[in-house]
Every structure is written in structure tokens, then in C-alpha cells.
């Protein structure tokens, strides 16, 4: 059975398919490598951590093991006021660092050099945790943003930083984006204003360097709802977001977005258990004209999933 036909054929398939793979995989990988991280890119990867979606540290995709973004208006170590307030990204001990910290070459030329030299990111250690910020510096006469390991440069520890910020200034951005992925928000919303005609409605399309270290990017492809890459720039009201998540038709009667009331969990902010059945009955009465006002939306608990989701939207999507 020594036909040569399938040998020629197999070699041909290998050759042609291999050629296609060279063009579509090796070619673009060079271009992707040359992307220099922007501030948006650094902010994104530091606030999201190593990976959103299924991973060793978060196998149930519920937002465990993610960094916390805090807004600091005074120095956690010295207590000196910081004006205007800055963002810091707190990695408690054991939380895995974002890809750019472990692999600085992902940050792009310039950003990599300053992050290593001035930012001292190579001295950050996962076992004791670290606090990062994004700082501005000059490299080859060009202004670049770089990652600063504030634990090394300013002596900020995760604990002290979280205490200084307090819950009011803590934003569970990493957990929030995880909820965005696991709840499938991205099946309808996109995170990619198109380069051609989306400027007026949805804002500026992202740049090449806005994605370094982000995983997954979750652009979305099937837009059944507005693009939300800059949604917080259009609407930054936490009250509106809260009502909209509980039942979108409270604030937008024609919306087809699902209700996300189950993201509230069992208890509200005051520790009272939420009676969903009663809320729905009241809402039904309201729809049928038996009530003048819709029932009040419960205030989300501090550790609820919806709080993290709104944190992500209001902090990152500007």
C-alpha cells in the first residue's frame, strides 16, 4: 500500500498551512511587541491583576485573588496630603502580580526601562504583597508613564494603604471586571468603539498600547447594547447604575437588558435580608398602576458583586 499520493499531499498541506501560520502568527507578533503601554494600559493591568476569567487563583471566576484599586488623598506612610489624589493598586500578600510586573518586556520600550530603574518593580515580592502606582517620567526626551513599586520607593505596605484609603475610597476593579466576564455582559456590550464612526456616540477608540498585559480583552463582537468603554464619562452616577442593574426598566423603560438583582446577594448594606419576592410583587403593582412609585432598590452590601461591578465601571470606563 505504498502510495505516494498521501505523502505528497501531507507535505503540501504542511507546507501551505505552515506558510499561512507564519504570516498570521509570526508576522503580527512583532508588531504587537512594539506596543508601548499608555497610562490606560498600565492602569488596566495593575487594577485587573494577572488574569480575569478562569485561573488557578480564581477557579470559580468569582473575583478572588484580585488586587484592589484605592484612591489616596494622603500618603499612607507619612500622612502628608496628596493633592490631587492618586490611584494606587494594592496587592495583598499572595495576590498574583499583573503580567507587566513579572514580565517587564510586555510594557514596551521606555516604560520597561523606567519601571525597572525608577519604579523598582523587580524588587516587588508576591509573598509580602506590594502597592503600585503609575508615575510619569522622561525616557529619551519623551514623556512616558511607568509602574512604580510604591512599597519599595515610598514604603507603602498593603495593609497601611488599605487602612488609609478606607472602604469609601476602595474600588474592587479586578473583581468587577471578573463579574463582567462571568455574567456574560460582553455578549451584548462591547469595549471597542470602532475607528470609523463611533466617535460621536461612544468616544475615542482605544490605542495600540491600551491593552498590554490585559487578559482577556473581551472586546465583544455582537453589539446588542451600547459600547461601554467610556460609559462613566457619559454617566457617572452610582445611584443610576445601582437602579439600572437591579432592574434596567426602572430608569430606561425600553431597555432589553436582563435584571441583575441576584448580584446583590442575600443581604443589603445594613445587613437586612432582601425580600426579592416582595420587591417583585410591589414592582408588578407599580407597573399595573396600583402604586405611585416603584419600590426602593436595596443598597448593595459592601462585599456584594454588584458593588464591585459598579466600582469597575465608574473607575475604569472613563
Amino acid at each position: 500500500m505504498a502510495f505516494r499520493r498521501h505523502k505528497f499531499g501531507s507535505a503540501g498541506i504542511g507546507l501551505m498551512f505552515g506558510f499561512s501560520m507564519c504570516i498570521t502568527l509570526f508576522g503580527p507578533s512583532n508588531d504587537f511587541r512594539s506596543g508601548v503601554s499608555t497610562w490606560v494600559g498600565l492602569d488596566k493591568q495593575l487594577s485587573l491583576g494577572r488574569v480575569i476569567g478562569f485561573s488557578y487563583e480564581d477557579p470559580t471566576v468569582s473575583g478572588d485573588g484580585k488586587p484592589i484599586t484605592v484612591i489616596l488623598n494622603k500618603d499612607p506612610k507619612t500622612g502628608v496630603a496628596i493633592d490631587p489624589p492618586i490611584r494606587a493598586y494594592v496587592y495583598k500578600p499572595g495576590v498574583k502580580f499583573s503580567p507587566g510586573v513579572n514580565h517587564p518586556e510586555l510594557l514596551g520600550p521606555g516604560v520597561e526601562d523606567l519601571s525597572m530603574r525608577d519604579g523598582k518593580i523587580s524588587s516587588a515580592s508576591m509573598s509580602s504583597g506590594a502597592v503600585f502606582t503609575v508615575s510619569k517620567g522622561v525616557f529619551n526626551d519623551e514623556e512616558v508613564d511607568y509602574i512604580e513599586n510604591a512599597s519599595a520607593t515610598r514604603g507603602w505596605t498593603p495593609d497601611k494603604t488599605l487602612r488609609t484609603a478606607g472602604d469609601a475610597n476602595s474600588r474592587y476593579v479586578g473583581k468587577g471586571k471578573t463579574i463582567y466576564i462571568s455574567e456574560g455582559c460582553w455578549w451584548c456590550h462591547t469595549l471597542l468603539p470602532e475607528q470609523t464612526q463611533d466617535w460621536q456616540m461612544f468616544g475615542q477608540p482605544p490605542f495600540l498600547g491600551d491593552f498590554n498585559g490585559e487578559m482577556p480583552t473581551a472586546f465583544g463582537s455582537d453589539r446588542k447594547a451600547p459600547d461601554i468603554l467610556h460609559v462613566a464619562a457619559r454617566n457617572s452616577s452610582r445611584e443610576w447604575m445601582t437602579m439600572h442593574f437591579f432592574n434596567p426598566r426602572l430608569v430606561q423603560p425600553n431597555s432589553i437588558m436582563p435584571r441583575f438583582d441576584y448580584l446583590w446577594g442575600k443581604q443589603d448594606a445594613n445587613g437586612n435580608s432582601i425580600d426579592f419576592a416582595k420587591w417583585r410583587a410591589d414592582y408588578s403593582d407599580y407597573l399595573h398602576g396600583k402604586r405611585i412609585y416603584a419600590p426602593e432598590v436595596p443598597e448593595p452590601a459592601r462585599d456584594s458583586e454588584v458593588r464591585a461591578l459598579i466600582d469597575w465601571i465608574l473607575t475604569s470606563l472613563k
Binding site: 462571568s182 455578549w187 491593552f211 480583552t217 431597555s255
Partner: protein, 469 residues
Amino acid sequence: MLMKYLFAKNDEIPAGSATIFFGFSSIFWFVVGTGLGSFNAAKLAFPDWVTGTELFAFGHMRQVHVLAVIIGWISMAFGMTMMYMTPALGNTKLWSEKLGLWTVFLWNIGLSLGLLLLWMGITSGREYNDLIWPIDLVVIFGVLLPLGINVWMTIAHRKTQGIYITNWFFGACIFMVMIVFLVGQSPELFNLTGLTEAYLTFWFAHNVLGLWITPVAAAIAYYTIPKLTGNPLYSHRIGHLHFWAIIVFYSTPASHHLMSAPLPEWLKSFASVEGVLILIPAVAFVANILLTMKGKWTMFVENVETKFSITGVLLAIPLNMQGGFQQTRAINWYVHGTGWIVAHAHLALLGMSSFLEAAAVYFGLQQMLRRKLYSLTLANLHYWFFIVGFCIYWISMTIAGLIQGAGKIYEVPYIDVVVAEHPYMIARWVGGTMVFTGNVVWLFNMWMTAREGTLVPEGRYAHELAYER
């Protein structure tokens, strides 16, 4: 019965067992997949229908629908056709019936587990690649590799001089889709990030479609149409043009899915040109099959398998005309991300591909069960529910997409687009529900065929016998 055969000696397993288990599994997953599709469509039309629980939230079910259809229905139907076409075309037996049964067993287990996890929200967050990487490894090494070994070994042990075009496709596509799955997993396995991840996600999505779903479906038609009509394939040489053009042109235009993302411009332009060149294999395929039908066009009406098969081929015409041009910059800016694309995706998977596979599953199950189809009436009912439901879906989503595109360029507030789309969302649900209903009828018909269909005499084909009901 499957359990008994899994541990039996290979020689003691009746020929065709793997085909039959694959066939019924694929129809089962088709019912599940289209049922979920119908449910999801209802949620888009009536957002307050079944609400308040995480389990039945749209975002938890959408990807389950997609992957149940792609990996359950379509790919299992491929597995089924490979189990009976590959040996038939090599004039030999399947290399290992037992391996085939193990494949279908692992496939059902792995897929059920993967879909269950997706349903719970345990996902990688990458479109079409939603399954977490451990499940993807099961797909690669527990499903595709054994399937490939069976097909490659059967081809190697063939008793014919040449290799028919269908087997070229089968052998090559399994190999390529394994590579595609492996490369597609690399962002998760090696934590590749940023645009690399975004690009590889759509590189995977495009190549699964282009190197697996559409070419294997076409390969199936290269078998079913000559077999059913008794006409030889119009041209084996055009078939080879189709085959080699698929490998060269369809494997390259991945980035046309990301035309508005900040990817390198050369890559987008290259992808656009290559995307138009996909018309070469597409036209070769359609022309080849339709010319094979010469003199046998009455079978398009009278024979249910031919009816399904030719419908699939005819749907390939609008599919390729859309696909070839909608990805160019001139058109893509208008339709990108709208319902138009959803309509196009369903034209490929539910239209062209599913009709071709349905024909092959009808044909192969009768052949391997050695039983004539239980009821022509039910089969026709399936066909008309399927085609009418599909057309309602396709047309309504195309219109919805054009509305969305217009809304995009005329800067209409988004909520007005949602309001304008509402009637088409209802139509989409009606269409999807019709397809689902047709599939339930099909499952019943096939089940009854296995139990009560008239036995096909030795040496005859099922389609040569008259229908009885």
C-alpha cells in the same frame, strides 16, 4: 449498550456502532442547542421573561447555545460522517470501532462538563474559546486526536488506489483543527495578553469556522450528492482546487474580524484581500455540486436527503457572497458588530453547514441501522420547519442589522435602535423556535426509524426503497 461495547473486543462490535452513537448524540445536541437558542431569543424579545435567577440569565446561556451547536451538533455530526464515509470511500472497515465508541463517549462527557461549567459562569472570557483550558485539552486529546487517529488509520489502510476528495478534507481538517485549538489555547496556557490575546481569540474563531465547520460540511456533500444521485462527481480536479484553496486562503484572514481594533494595518489589508479570495474555493464547491446534480434534479423534490443537501449548497451562495465582501473595509464599517453578522453566522452554521450535515446524518443512520426512514411526512415536516424557521431568523436579523448600522452612522441614541429592533427580535424568536420544533420531530423520527423502520435488504441502499409513511 454503549457501556457494553466500550469494553468489548473490537471484532465483536458490530460495524456502524460508532456511527449510530455519534448520529444520535449529534441530533440530541442539536435539539439542546436550538432549544437554548430559542430560549435566549425569547429573552432578547421579552427581557422580563424568566428573570431573577443567575441560572437562566442570558449571559450564562448564550455561550452554552453556541458551543452546544458547534461542538455538540456540528462537530459530532462530522464525527458521525467520518465514521461511515471514510471506510466506505476506502472500501474497507473503520480502523477501530472501539476507539470510535470511546471517542463519542468522551466527547459527550467532556462537552457536558464543559457546558455545565460555562453555564455556571466558569469561563475563559474569550469568544468561541469560552471553554476553560482544561476542558479544551479534553477536546484536543480526548476527542479530536482519537477521531483523527481513526480517520488517518482508516485512510492509510484503504483498499483503493486514490484518496477521494472527501477523505482529503477529513484527514487534513482534523489535523488543522487540532493545531487551531492548540494555538487558540496559548493565551490561556502561557498567559499571552493584550492585543495578542484579542487577535488569537478571533484567529481561533475564524479558523475553526474556516478549517473545520465549512470545509468538512462541504466534504460531506462531495459524498452524499454522488451517492444519492448515482452521478459521479462532476470534477475531482475542481474538488482539489477547492481543497487546496481552502488551505491557502481560508487559513489567513483571521484579523478581518477585528477591522476596527488597533491591529497593524498591513494585517487588516492582507486579511481583507485573502477574505475575498475565499470565493475561489466557495465557487468551486457550489459549481461542482450543482453540476453533479445534472439530470437528477427531480431528486431535489422527491428525496429528502438530497433536499437537505442541495438546500445547504444553495445557501452557500448567499453565504459566500456576504462573507467575501462584508469583511472589506468598504462594507465592514457599516455592518460590523450588528445583527447582520449574527444573521451571517447563522447562515453559515444553521443554514449551509447544518443542512449538509442533516442530510448526511439522515443518510448514514439509515445506512448503518439498515432500516428505511420511519416517516417521510415527519422528515418533510422537519425540513419545512427548519428552512422556514431559518429564513425568518436570517431575514429578520439581517434587517435588524441594517437598522443598527444606520443607527450607528446617523448617531441615533442607542435606545431608539433597541426599540426599532424589537419586532425583529420577536421574529428571530419565532424562527428559532420553529427550527427547534423541527429538530424535536427529527429526533422522534430517527428514534422510530431505529425501532420500527423497515429493514433494508442486503446490497441495497435505503434511499432506493419507497417511503412507507
